[in-house]
């Protein structure tokens, strides 16, 4: 899978993983304190933030595996920084990455429109909920509460991770820093095509 990857793309994912690992850990703390007041549902509405790196990296690099690898790398870096959630973060990172990856794979890694990004966020939400159902013992909770938690997480995945990821990446694209990555090539091609159509 890694043969077709340039080293600069791998390192790009890794430095993004560092930035977002810090953001993620910050939100774990926020979530933990909230969770004391309103229970595990506290994590649900901010859950999308934890999927964002896979969507940003897939959107920029546009290669199979970008979503899975970036989320896994962010999880490894979170573990390297050290925290009380610990090694199992790597497992949940892989699960969340796979969820996003599934959405990109379903579109054949060809489309990166806003709705595909939302779908990737939803994919992560669904996969991570199934995993949480097992690991965090959601099976012991009332089904109606579970439905509420699940729909909050899916919404958060679509809005925070999907739309938020696009919002951040587009802003980054505008700075010109992404020249040399698939995202600039594809968008400039689009512009050319439009230009030809008009002219």
């Amino acid at each position: 899978m890694l043969k077709s990857w340039k080293l600069k793309e791998v390192v790009l994912m890794s430095v993004f993983a560092v930035v977002f690992a810090l953001v993620y850990l910050l939100f774990v703390q926020v979530g933990n304190i909230w969770a004391g007041v309103i229970g595990p549902i506290a994590y649900e509405w901010i859950f999308g933030i934890w999927f964002i790196v896979s969507i940003i990296c897939a959107y920029i690099i546009r290669k199979p595996g970008a979503a899975l690898l970036s989320e896994t790398m962010a999880a490894i870096i979170e573990v390297m920084i050290g925290n009380a959630v610990g090694p199992r973060l790597i497992l949940s990172g892989i699960v969340q990455g796979l969820g996003a990856e599934a959405a990109f794979a379903a579109t054949g890694y060809k489309r990166y429109d806003w709705w595909v990004l939302c779908l990737a966020g939803i994919g992560s939400a669904v996969f991570s909920f199934a995993y949480g159902f097992f690991v965090s013992g959601y099976a012991a909770l009332d089904p109606s509460l579970l439905v509420l938690m699940f729909s909050l997480r899916v919404m958060s995945g679509a809005i925070i991770a999907g739309l938020g990821g696009k919002y951040v990446s587009d802003g980054l694209l505008a700075t010109g820093a992404l020249r040399g990555y698939a995202i600039s090539r594809d968008t400039s091609k689009n512009h050319q095509l439009k230009g030809e159509a008009i002219g």
Binding site: L7, V10, M73, G171
Partner: protein, 253 residues
Amino acid sequence: MSSRTWLHDMNPALKFILVIVSMLTLAWFFNPWTPFLVFVGVILIQLSFSRINWKVWSLFMIPIGFSALGYLWTTVLFAADTSGNVIWVWRGIEVTDQQWHTALSLAFRVFAFSSLSLLFALTTNPVKFVMSLMQQLRLSPKLAYGVMVGYQFLPVVKEEFIQIRHAHRLRGIGQEKYAWQRLLSMRRILIPLLASAVRRAERSAFAMEARGLTGERRSIYYEPLHIGGRDWLLAIILIFVLIASSVAGFLLS
């Protein structure tokens, strides 16, 4: 007291797998005793085989305590299984012993998970962990060295974050009143941070390739890591704690 360094010297990949296996095993139990005994067992292992700073350990545990509390009362109120005898009633909410047990179990599970995580986090050198993932678990060198570069940038990212904040403050932005405004303003900080991260990634990727990193697996490492007899001994002790608490949990409930 030489045994007090064992956990610190243990092979990180093996330790990682053990912690993951313990957590996945715990996920099957809904009685309060198993996670509680694992929690105690892990603390005992750490007391005898590691030399960690317990003050740091407690600081990590405080927020965990909060989230465990959340789990406790959510499960009391919203348990799926409401059979058993009612043990107390408060303003029309009836709590059965079954509900109470499940709630305690989930709360203790949070503690058991955290103690396992801290067992790993406080005794493992992060760089050795990635090296061990590459050498024992065959993580691709491209990824492993990529992660290492990112990790080395951690202090730089922190510094840059502070600089960007200062720059914003000088120009009088960044004094939002509401939480949602602050959440949206994250983009103002993230984008310059990421833009410079992209440039740095490119520079270091060039530098790494210039120094001969091909991403191929190598046969000789500068710092080879092995799994020795002592590692297996610790593994057996941890697995014993796991099995013993599973059996005890089964018998006690």
